[in-house]
C-alpha cells in the first residue's frame, strides 16, 4: 500500500511548492492528487488555456518522485461558462434552479455541458496523458454530492424520454409496465411523460424508479465521456473516480463498467457516523472514532466495485467541517484508520488534504499541516504510519486476494426501491445492510460485499439483508451451489418495474423456500413484537411480515404472538422481520454456524481482518484486548495485547 495526499498548488504561493513536495516525499507519501477544482485557472477565459502553472506544479512534484493523480476539473465550471449557458445549472427537487457560487452547479444531462467537459478533458489529457509523472486520472469529484442527484432539468427530461423509448419501445408497453391505468396516468406518447416530481401526492413508483435508473445511467455516461478521452490520450494510466461513503444514488457496479480501473472513495468516519441514521446512543459512543464498521463497510464495498482494486482517495486526517458537530478524533485514529484501510485491501490511502486551506468553504477542514505550515496532530500520525509501512517491507505490498468466507449482497436498485417506497418512515436500505454487516463483523468475520448480480459460488455463506428485486441468477446459484443463504424481509417482493410480484413475495425465492407473504407491516418505534432466538430475547422493529410457510419450509423461530420469525429450508433461511441488534446477531450467528463457520462475539470495538499473510486486530474500544494470535505469532505491529485506539498485526503462517 502507498500513502498519498490531496494537494492544491493553486491555493498556495508557488514559492511554497518545492518545500511541500520535499516534505511529502520525506513523510513517505508517494502519490499526489491535484487539479480537480482548477478549471478557472486552467481556462481563465473561454478558449484561453493557461497550462504553465500546472506544468510547473507537476514538474515540482515529479522532481521529488511523487506520482500525480490528475483530476478533471468538471465539478466546478467557471462563471463565464455558466453565464454563457445558464441552462447548464441544475434544478432541485422543488423546481428551483441552483446557482453558481459553490460547486456541482451543473446538470449532468446538459448536452452543452457534456461538450465542454469533453473539450477540457481532451485538452488536459492531450497535454498530460503521457507525462511520466502522471500515473492516474480522477474524473470530476464525488458525483452526486450535495443532493445534486436526481436533478430535474428540461435536458434531463428530454434524455429521459429517449431512454424510456429505448427501454420500452412502445408507449403501450410502458403504460402496462408502470400500471398507468391507475389514476388515469396513461400517456399517448413518450413525449407526454414528465419528470416524477411536484405531484400533489406520490408519483407512480415505477416512474420514480425508472427515473432513478436513468439518472444512474446518466452519471455513468457522463463519466464514460471523460474516461474515453483519457483512454485515448493517456494509455496505461489508471482511471478512477472518488466515490463517497454510504452513497447510493447511482449504481457503482454499473458505473465501474464504463471505464474504471480502481474504485477510489473518500473516507470521513467521524462525520459519516454523525450523519448516518444510527441510534443516538451509537452516535454518541463513537463520536470521536467513527463507528468501528463504518469505514470497513465502504472498504469492503468498494473493493468489490473495483474488482479487488480499492483506493482511499481522501482520508480524514483530523477534524472536519461538514457535519452538524465536528469533534477532534481521538489521538491515534488517523493511524488506526490508515492501517484499517490497509487491512481491508486498499492500494493507496491518500490524506485530505496536504495543508488546511485558510479561506473559502473548507477552511475549517483540517489537513496534514496547519495553515501556518506545521504538522497537524493527524500529520504526525501519518509520519508514524509512513515509518511503520516502510518497516513492513515486502508485506506492505501484500494483496487481499483470497475471498472472505462470507458474502454480503449489495444492490443499488434495492436502495432506490426502498427509498421510493419505504412504507415505514425509518426503513433505510443502507442502514439495514449496515446492521447485518456490523453483526457479522462483531462475530469476528471478514466480509466481502458483492453485487447481487455477482458470482458468489466461492462463499460458504451468502447474506442478502433485503433484496426486493431478486435476480434470476441468484436462484440459479442457490440451486446449483452448496453454500448457505440468508435472506431478510422484502426479498423477492417486487418485479423489475416495482410492482408486487404476481406470485406474491418472496417471489422467485419460493423456488427454494416455499412460503407466501400474506401481509406486511411497518412498525412505529414503540411497537416491537417480541421473540426469542436461542438464548437471546429481543424484538422486531421497523418491519414484519405475516408469512405462511410452504411445503418443507420449517419455522425455526416464532414471535411470541405466534407468527413465524425465521423460516428455513435446507441451506436457505429467511428472516421475516428486522430485528434489534442483539437478536439480529443471534440470528446471523445461528446461520453462520449452520454454514460450518466458526464465530464468536468480539469485545466491544475490536475487529479482525486479513491481508495476504497479515492478520490484523484493530481496537476502536477504550480497553486493551488480547488478540487472537496463535502463541508465538510474529507481530509486525504491536503485540498480543492491543491497547485502546491501536492496531496489532502478525504474520499468519500458512
Amino acid at each position: 500500500m502507498q500513502l498519498g495526499v490531496c494537494y492544491y498548488p493553486e491555493h498556495w504561493p508557488e514559492s511554497q511548492w518545492e518545500s511541500d513536495a520535499r516534505r511529502m516525499a520525506e513523510m513517505g507519501i508517494k502519490r499526489v492528487r491535484i487539479a480537480e477544482f482548477a478549471w478557472s485557472r486552467i481556462e481563465p477565459e473561454p478558449g484561453r488555456y493557461d497550462w504553465a502553472w500546472l506544468d510547473r506544479a507537476i514538474s515540482t512534484l515529479g522532481r521529488h518522485e511523487l506520482e500525480v493523480v490528475l483530476g478533471t476539473p468538471t465539478a466546478s465550471p467557471p462563471k463565464w461558462l455558466v453565464d454563457a449557458h445558464p441552462d447548464i445549472l441544475p434544478v432541485a427537487r422543488d423546481g428551483s434552479v441552483m446557482q453558481f457560487g459553490s460547486r456541482r452547479h451543473y446538470d449532468i444531462s446538459s448536452p452543452v455541458y457534456r461538450e465542454h467537459c469533453v473539450r477540457i478533458v481532451d485538452e488536459m489529457t492531450r497535454r498530460y496523458g503521457t507525462h511520466p509523472a502522471v500515473v492516474a486520472w480522477q474524473t470530476d469529484n464525488e458525483f452526486g454530492c450535495h443532493n445534486t442527484l436526481p436533478s430535474y432539468t428540461q435536458a434531463a427530461l428530454l434524455r429521459f424520454r429517449r431512454w424510456l423509448a429505448r427501454r420500452y419501445e412502445t408507449i403501450g408497453v410502458l403504460n402496462a409496465a408502470w400500471g398507468n391505468v391507475f389514476w388515469s396516468m396513461e400517456y399517448r406518447s413518450f413525449d407526454e411523460i414528465e419528470l416524477p416530481y411536484r405531484t400533489p401526492t406520490d408519483a407512480n413508483p415505477s416512474h420514480v424508479l425508472d427515473y432513478r435508473r436513468f439518472q444512474s445511467d446518466e452519471v455513468a455516461s457522463f463519466h464514460a465521456l471523460q474516461a474515453d478521452s483519457i483512454r485515448r490520450h493517456s494509455p496505461e494510466r489508471d482511471v478512477l473516480h472518488n466515490f463517497m461513503g454510504f452513497y447510493a444514488a447511482f449504481d457503482h457496479y454499473a458505473f465501474a463498467r464504463h471505464g474504471l480501473d480502481v474504485a477510489a472513495w473518500d473516507s470521513y468516519p467521524v462525520p459519516r457516523t454523525e450523519v448516518l441514521p444510527l441510534p443516538e446512543a451509537e452516535k454518541h459512543r463513537w463520536a470521536r472514532t467513527g463507528h468501528p464498521d463504518v469505514s470497513a463497510f465502504s472498504h469492503d464495498l468498494y473493493r468489490g466495485v473495483g474488482n479487488g482494486r480499492m483506493w482511499v482517495m481522501e482520508q480524514q486526517a483530523g477534524p472536519v467541517n461538514w457535519a452538524p458537530w465536528n469533534p477532534v478524533p481521538l489521538p491515534g485514529m488517523v493511524r488506526l484508520w490508515t492501517w484499517e484501510a490497509f487491512a481491508h485491501g486498499a492500494e493507496l490511502v491518500s490524506f485530505f488534504r496536504w495543508r488546511q486551506c485558510p479561506y473559502a468553504q473548507e477552511q475549517m477542514h483540517s489537513g496534514l499541516n496547519t495553515p501556518d505550515d506545521e504538522l497537524s496532530p493527524g500529520g504526525g500520525e501519518v509520519v508514524l504510519v509512513g515509518r511503520e509501512l516502510r518497516a513492513l517491507g515486502a508485506s506492505a505490498s501484500a494483496v487481499r486476494s483470497e475471498p472472505a468466507s462470507v458474502a454480503l449482497l449489495f444492490d443499488y436498485e434495492a436502495d432506490w426501491v426502498i427509498e421510493t417506497q419505504r412504507h415505514g418512515a425509518d426503513f433505510d436500505y443502507q442502514h439495514v445492510v449496515f446492521e447485518w454487516y456490523s453483526s457479522l463483523r462483531e462475530l469476528g468475520l471478514e466480509v466481502d460485499i458483492v453485487s447481487s448480480r455477482g458470482d458468489v459460488s466461492a462463499y460458504r455463506l451468502v447474506l442478502a439483508p433485503t433484496l426486493p428485486i431478486l435476480p434470476d441468477s441468484l436462484i440459479e446459484q442457490i440451486e446449483r451451489g452448496a453454500n448457505h443463504w440468508v435472506f431478510g424481509p422484502r426479498t423477492g417482493s417486487k418485479s423489475e418495474t416495482l410492482a408486487i410480484v404476481p406470485q406474491l413475495p418472496p417471489g422467485k425465492l419460493k423456488t427454494v423456500l416455499p412460503a407466501r407473504v400474506v401481509e406486511v407491516e411497518s412498525l412505529r418505534p414503540s411497537i416491537r413484537p417480541t421473540l426469542r432466538i436461542g438464548e437471546v430475547e429481543g424484538a422486531a422493529l421497523r418491519w414484519r411480515e405475516h408469512v405462511q410457510p410452504g411445503v418443507e419450509t420449517e419455522v425455526t423461530a416464532r414471535f411470541d404472538d405466534g407468527l413465524p420469525a425465521l423460516l428455513q429450508r435446507g441451506r436457505v433461511t429467511y428472516m421475516t422481520a428486522c430485528f434489534d441488534r442483539a437478536l439480529l446477531r443471534a440470528a446471523i450467528a445461528k446461520c453462520v454456524r449452520d454454514a460450518g463457520i466458526d464465530c464468536a462475539p468480539l469485545p466491544e470495538g475490536l475487529r479482525l481482518s486479513r491481508r495476504g499473510a497479515l492478520r490484523f486486530a484493530i481496537n476502536y474500544g477504550d480497553r486493551s484486548q488480547s488478540v487472537p494470535a496463535p502463541a508465538g505469532a510474529r507481530f509486525v505491529l504491536g503485540g498480543s495485547v492491543v491497547g485502546p485506539i491501536d492496531v496489532a498485526a502478525w504474520i499468519e503462517e500458512g
Copy 2:
C-alpha cells in the same frame, strides 16, 4: 345495512371480471363502486369516448345482482387535457405549480376544467343515468385530499374577487370589515385584492378566513355542477361524495345543500390514529386497532351531515400504505369496524378495495383479496360479517332514527378560525372537539354531532367544545329551550369577520351567562395550571382564560391560583380552559348528571351504541368485559361477556 366494495375493472384482465362479480355476490356484497379514476379509459383521446369496456363491466356486475355506484372521473384528468390546458394545474401554498403524475392535479376554480368536468359527467350520466344496475353516483373523489385546498391559482383569485364583491358590495365595507386600516392594507377596489399568502408575516386573518369560506364555496359549486348533471340525467339515483375523516377544509354541511343525498366517507382508523395530533401514548396504545372513538366520531358527524343517511364508502380492510407506519390491524378489527359502522347508523359499508392492486401508488394498500386472488385476512372477516348480517334478518335494516340524548356541536368555520389564529401552537379545533366526544363516549353515552346552525331542541344536553363565532340561533335556542348547555373556551370570542367581539368574549353568550373574558393565554406544554373538579385532580393545558363572572354567574370550580375554571348559570356551563383528559371527563360528567342523564365511565376500550332496537357493546380493549345488557336479553351477536376485539349485540325490548 348493506356491504359494498370498491372495484376497478380497468385494472384487471376482463377474463377475471366474471369470477370477481360472482365471488362478491357470494360474500354478501351488494354494491360496487367503480370508474372514479377511469377518465383515460373512458376518453382515451380528446373527444373520443370508449364506453364498451364500461358497458361490459356494469353488465357483468348487474348480472350478479350487484348494484353499481358510478364515480365521476374528475379527480384525475388525463394527460392530454393537462397538456391542452396547463393552467388547470393547481398552485401550492409556496406558489409552485403542481404537476401531472399522480391525482388531484387540477384547480377547482379553473373555468376550463369546470367545463370539461360538466362535459364528461354529462356524457356519463346520459349513457348510464337510467341503467338499471346503476343506483348511485359519487362525484370526484375525496375533495381536498393531499393538501390541495386551499389552492392559489390566478383563476381562484379572479373568482375570489367576484365572491368578495358579492359579499361586501363596496370596497369600503370590505376594508372596514377586515380592519384594513391596520398596517395600511386598504384596497381601493376589489381588483386590488390578492391571495392571502406569501406575505412577510401573517396575512390579515379576516382575509384568510374569507378565502377559506370562498374555497369552501368553490368545492360545493364544483360538486353542484356535477350533481346537477346527475339529477338531469339520472333520476332517483342517490348522489354522494366520499368525504374523508377529520377533514374540515370545506363546510360539509353547506356542501350537503348543493345536491347530496347521502354523506359517504372513507374510514381508515389505523392510519388516521397515527396521523392525528394525539398524544404519543394514545397513538401507541391504539396502533393496531385505531383509537376507539376515531371511526365513531366520523360516523356520528357524517350521519348528521347526511341528515341521517350515512355510508362508509371506503372501509379499511387490512394494512394500508399512507401513514408513516402501517401495521397490520389486530385480527377481528375489520369485523369490529363493520359492526361499529352499523351501530352508528351506516346504510352501507363498502370495503376498499376488492383486490390489492400490485402496481402503481397504492400497491401496498391491502384489499379483500390478495394480488394473487386469495381472500386476505380482512376479506375472511368480511365473509363472516356477511354471514352474521344475513343471520340478523330484518334487524339488519334497522335505522338509527331516534336522536341521542347528547348533542355535540360541530362547526367548520370554527376550524378555519382556529387554524387562522391558533394563538397557541398546539390548539387544534378538531382535536379539541374529539377530546370532548371521546370523554362522552367513555362515559357510555351516545352522541349526535350536529351543526352549530342546527336545531338541538331534541337534546337534553348540548355541548360546544369551542365555538368562536357563535350563531344567534343558539342563543335563541338556549333561551327558548329547557335543555342544558356546556361551552368550552374561545366560545363567542369572534365576530363574523374574525374580529374580537365588541362586548369582549364570550360575546353573545353573555346574554345567558354573564361573564367577561379579560385576558386569554395559550400555554406551553410544560405550563399546566392545577385544579380539582370533584374528586379529580388535574390541570389545564393549551389554553386558559381569565374571566370575571357576571351577575348570577356562579364559579363552580377554581384553579389553585384562584382563577375561575367552571362558570355556571342555570342550565349553562362555561369551561374557561382546556383540561387534561381525566379532568375534562370529570367536568363533562358533572354537566351530564346536571342534565339528568345517567353516566358512568366504561372499562378501557369498551363503547356502547344503539341502532333501532339493537344495542351494541364494542370492545376495542384487550380484556373481556361484561356488557350492560339486562338479564335475559336476547343476544344477536355474542353474549353477555364481550371478548377483546369483539362485539356483542342484543335486542332492547321497548
Copy 3:
C-alpha cells in the same frame, strides 16, 4: 424617566380620541407614538394627501400636553404603490417574491421605493417638523422584522456589485480576498458576481459575510435618507428607530452613526424568552416573567448603542400574540419591567399599545386597555407606576451616567461570522454573549455592553465572550491599559474577510497572550468534556479548542483529559471552550475577583442595578429576598425585603 404609549388614532372613531388623550394624561403618560403604519390614510391615492385627520389627532393629544413621537409610515407601503412598482417587493431566501397583505413588503435596496420614502417623509416633516407637540421622529418600524433581511432582489444585487467595487476596487483583489481560486469561483468582473444563495452547497463564507455587511449598510442608508429629511425640516427633534431585542442582522452601532439621537427598542420579555434558543428548563422556569436577564441585556446593549440615551419604544403590557405560546405574565410584571427599564437607564418606557385592537393581525395582542375600553390588568399596573414615578420626584430624572465596573463587548459582525460558519449546529453568537451577561448579573454585577470598537479604558474588567475578528484597537487598549480582560473561544480566529488568520488563532491576541490553537472542535450535546474550576465541577459544551500555551502563558485550569481550559497571562484570560452555566459563572467569578471587583452569587431571580443615586433590587423569583441595602438606607420603593415579582429601591448615600 417618562411614560409613553403607542397609539393608533386611525384605528378608532374620532369621537374616542378626546377621552383617550385625557385618560393618557391622567395616567401619567407623557409621550405618544403615532402614525407609523398610516400611509394608506396619509396618502390614500397616489399624490393625494389627507392630513386633516392627522392634524386633528396631533392637536387632540397636544391639548392634553402629550408629546408626539411621529412615525414615518414606510414599513407598510400601500397597495397602489406596490401595484405601480411590483419590483419593490422583497425576495426571500428561497427566491420567492413576497407579497402585499401584511407589512414589510418592500425591498430596502429598491431605488424607486427609496424615492417614494423620501417623498412621503419630506411631506410629513415639512408639515409637522416644527409642530410644537411633535418632539421626536421614529423612522419606519423594526427594520428587518419577519426575516426580511437579508433580502435577495435584483436591485440588491446591482447595489451589492457597486458596493463590492468600492470596497475592493479591482476584481483581482476581491478574488484574492475571498479565496475564489477555491472551487474555481473566480470572477472576471464585478458584474459576474451573484447573490450568495441557492448554491448546491454553502456559498463562499467571505461572499456571505460581505453580503451581510452590505445589507447592514443598506439598512443604515435607508434610515439615513429619512433622518436627513427629518434633520432638514424638524430641527431639535430626536430621531430614533425602534430596534428589536436580540436582533443582529444589521450593525446597530454603525446604524447609530447615520442620524440617530436615541436608541429605542421594543421590549417583549415573555415571547422573547420563548423564542430564544434557551434550554427548555429555563424557558419553562421564566415562562410568565421572561428570563431575568433578557430585558436587561437589551437595555444595557441599547444604552450603549444610543451613547447613553435609551428608550423602550414598545413595552409588553400583557399577553401578546406572536410566540408559539403566549401566557399571561404574572401580576406585577408590567410594573417590574418598567422599573427595571428605569434602573437600566431608560429615558422613556412607552407601552404597546394604548388599546387592544379588535381586528387584523394583532388582535390577540393586549394593551393598556381592553377593546371595550376598560383598563387591562397591565394598564392597572401602569397607573400604579405612574403614581410611584411621580412620588419619586426629582429622582425620576436621575440619569445613569457613571460606567459600570464591567464591560461586555458586543460585535454585530461576530454574529454574522458565526452564523455564516457555525461549525457546530448549536453555536449561536447572541446566546453565548447572553450566557456571559447572565453570569455576570447573577454575580450581582452591573454591566455595560460596549462595541468591540469602543473605548473601554474606564472599565476594570472587559469581557469578550467570542470575537472572531479582533480589532487592532483592542490589542492597543490591552497593552496601554491596566484593566483585566477575558476572552472566550474563537476570539481572534478570523481575518477581516473571514479567513483563518495566518498566525492561527487567537491571532492578534497572541501579542498579549501567547498561545496557538492547533485544532478546534464543535461538540454534539452528548459530548461534554469534564473539568473543575475551583470548587465547581462541570463540563464544556458546544465548542472546545486544543491550544498550545506560549511563553509566559499559564494554564490555570485543565480538562480532565489534560487539555488546557483556562489560559492566563497577567491581566488577560482566555477560555478555550464554552462551559456549562455553573462552570462559566465560576470561571467568570475568578476573573472578576482577579480584577479586584467583589462579587457573590445572588439568590435565584434577584438582580441589582443602579441609576444615579438610586439602587435597585429587582426580584423575578418566587421567594422574598433581603436586599443588600446598608442599614438605615432610605427606601423610595419597597423596603429591605423584596417580595416575589417586586422591586425595592433605595438612595445610595455618597
